[in-house]
Symmetry: C2
Subunit: 320 residues, 2 copies
C-alpha cells in the first residue's frame, strides 16, 4: 500500500454513515473492508461488484467471528448496532443484546487480538436528553430519555474503560442529526429530513408534530465523514468524546421551506404529538462543537441549503 | 396489618444489606418477603425457621418469576445482582447478564403488574471513579473504572427512565463503603473492613496495599439501613440519586488501629499494589451527604469506633 494508507474495517458498513464513509476512505486510498449483518442490495447503487468484493457478511454479535476478523486492521469504525429510540423502549432487551453485547464483542476481540487498533464509536446527542440550554457542551448532564440513549452512554464508558485498562485507543462522537445520500429511505425511523424528502418526492404531505418550531442540529454527511477521517491522523483525539454537529439550529419548519424551494408542490400538515413521541421528544438541540474544532481544525463546509439540494437530487435519481 | 405497615419485597435479601434491612423492617412491623437465588444457610444465625417462611427461592434473571411475584408489594428493594469490580473486568458478559438484565426484569415486571410500587436501587460510589476532589457531590463527573461501575450507571438510568416513562417511583443511593454484621466473611471480595476483621480474628496478618493512607467513607450498616427505611415515608425522595456514606474519611491505617484496640495481637503487613488492583483503585473517597440530610433529616449516628466494636463482637461470636 502507498505510504499513509491504512487497513480499515467498517462494522455496519452498509448503513447510512458506513456507505458514505466507505466511499470517502476508498477515494483517499485506504484499503477498506465492510462487515455487514445482511447484504441487502438496495436500489441506491452503492453495492457495486467491487464493493461486494470488500464486503464480509457477519454479525458483531458473533464473538468468534469478531476474534477472527479484527487482527489486521489499523482502524475500526464501530458503526454496527440497532438504532431507534422508540424501538428500544418497546423492546429494551433487544437493544441491550444488539448494542451492549455487540460492542463488548468488538472490544474483547481487540483486547485479545489487536490492542493497537484505533476504534471509532458513534454515540448520539440523545445522551443529553432535553438540554437545559443550547448550545450543549460535552460536559452537559446526561439525562437519556430512552433505552437506546442509555445504552449509548454505557457503550461510551466501555470504550473509554478499554482504552484505560488495555490501551486500545478510542474516539467517541455524540452525533447530532445527520442527513444526506444513502440514508435509509421510506421510513421515519432513520432521519427526519430524509423522511420529509421522501414524502415530498412521492407527492405525499409532510407531517410535523407540533408547530414545527423545534430546532435540530442537522449535520451533512459529507461534513460528518470528513470528521471521521480526521481520527486516522490525529492521535490526540484518542480517549475523547466530541459533539459532532453543524453547531447551529434549523427548525423543522425552516427545513420544509428549503424542501419546498426545490420541490415546490410539497404540502405540510401539522399534527398533535403522539404519546410516545412526546415523551421522548428532547426539545431544541444545538451542539457546541468548539472542542472538536480545537482538536482537529475542522469546520462544517456545506450550507444547509446546498446539502439539502444535493440530498434531494440524490434521492430523485435513485430510490424514491 | 397495623396502620403504616407495608408489604415489602427484598430482592437479594440474603445478602449483607438485605439481612440487616430485613431485621430492621420486621422490627418496624412491616410484612417482609425475601427473594434469593440460593438459600445458603450460613453460620451467622440469620436464617431462622421464621425467616425461612418468608423467603422465596428464585432469580431476578427469571422474567416470568418476576412477573408473578411483584404485584402485592408497596416497596421493593432491588438488592440482587452480582458485585465485584475486579470480577466484572474478568467477565464483562456475566456482569451484564446478572446486573442489567436482572434489573430490566424487575422494572418490566413492575411496569406491567405493579406500576405503583416504590423501588429502591443501591448504586455505588464507584460510579465516580477517582474523585477530582473530596467530598464528592452527586453532580461530580462519572468516570467508572470497571464494568461493574459502568453497569451501576446504566441501571441508575434504567430506574430514572421507568419513573419518567411509567411513573414507577425510584430512589437511588450511591453507597460508599458499608460494613457491619452479616457481611460475607472470609473473602476480600466483600468489604475491606470485614476482611481485615476476619484476618485479625483468625490470627493472620492484615495485608494493606500501599502505605495505608488511602481514605474510605465507611458507613455502618445500621446507619445505612436507617436511610433505606426513610424511603418508605418520604415521597419527595422519588426520582433522586443520593450519596450514602458517613460523610467523613477514615484511612485504612486508622481502621487497623481501631481493630488493634479490640484485638491487640493484630499484625499488619504492607504490600505493593497488584497490577489489576492498582488500575481500579480510585484513591481517597469521601461522600458529600448534604442532599440526603436535607431531604430526610437523617444523619449517621454510630461512631466508627463503636461500629467497629459491634462488628468485631458479632463476628467473634458467629462465623469466624
Amino acid at each position: 500500500m502507498p505510504t499513509g494508507t491504512k487497513k480499515i474495517l467498517i462494522l455496519g458498513g452498509l448503513g447510512f454513515i458506513g456507505k458514505n464513509l466507505y466511499n470517502r476512505l476508498v477515494q483517499d486510498g485506504h484499503a477498506v473492508t465492510i462487515l455487514t449483518e445482511r447484504i441487502h442490495d438496495e436500489s441506491d447503487g452503492f453495492l457495486t461488484p467491487t464493493v461486494r468484493q470488500h464486503t464480509v457478511q457477519g454479525s458483531i454479535l458473533n464473538p468468534q467471528l469478531m476474534n477472527n476478523i479484527v487482527a489486521p486492521f489499523d482502524v475500526i469504525f464501530s458503526l454496527a448496532g440497532s438504532s431507534g429510540a422508540a424501538d428500544s423502549i418497546r423492546d429494551p432487551y433487544h437493544d441491550l443484546d444488539t448494542n451492549l453485547k455487540g460492542h463488548l464483542n468488538i472490544l474483547e476481540a481487540c483486547r485479545q487480538h489487536n490492542p493497537g487498533a484505533l476504534l471509532v464509536f458513534p454515540s448520539s446527542r440523545l445522551v443529553y436528553g432535553k438540554p437545559a440550554a443550547n448550545p450543549v457542551r460535552e460536559d452537559h448532564p446526561l439525562q437519556p430519555e430512552s433505552i437506546y440513549a442509555i445504552h449509548k452512554i454505557t457503550t461510551e464508558h466501555y470504550y473509554l474503560l478499554y482504552q484505560r485498562l488495555y490501551g486500545i485507543r478510542a474516539v467517541i462522537f455524540r452525533i447530532a442529526n445527520p442527513f444526506g445520500p444513502f440514508q435509509r429511505f421510506g421510513s421515519n425511523n432513520y432521519g427526519i429530513l430524509n423522511w420529509f424528502i421522501h414524502r415530498a418526492l412521492v407527492g405525499e404531505p409532510i407531517e410535523i408534530y407540533g408547530d414545527g418550531s423545534q430546532q435540530r442540529d442537522f449535520i451533512y454527511i459529507n461534513d460528518l465523514v470528513e470528521v471521521l477521517t480526521r481520527t486516522i491522523d490525529t492521535p490526540a483525539m484518542a480517549g475523547n468524546i466530541y459533539n459532532l454537529g453543524a453547531g447551529g439550529g434549523i427548525s423543522l419548519r425552516q427545513a420544509v421551506e428549503v424542501i419546498q424551494k426545490y420541490i415546490p408542490a410539497t404540502q405540510v400538515v401539522f399534527r398533535q404529538w403522539p404519546e410516545i413521541a412526546k415523551k421522548i421528544e428532547t426539545g431544541d438541540y444545538i451542539a457546541d462543537i468548539e472542542l472538536l474544532k480545537q482538536h482537529t481544525g475542522w469546520a462544517p463546509r456545506t450550507s444547509f441549503d446546498a446539502a439539502m439540494k444535493e440530498t434531494i437530487a440524490f434521492y430523485d435519481r435513485s430510490n424514491k
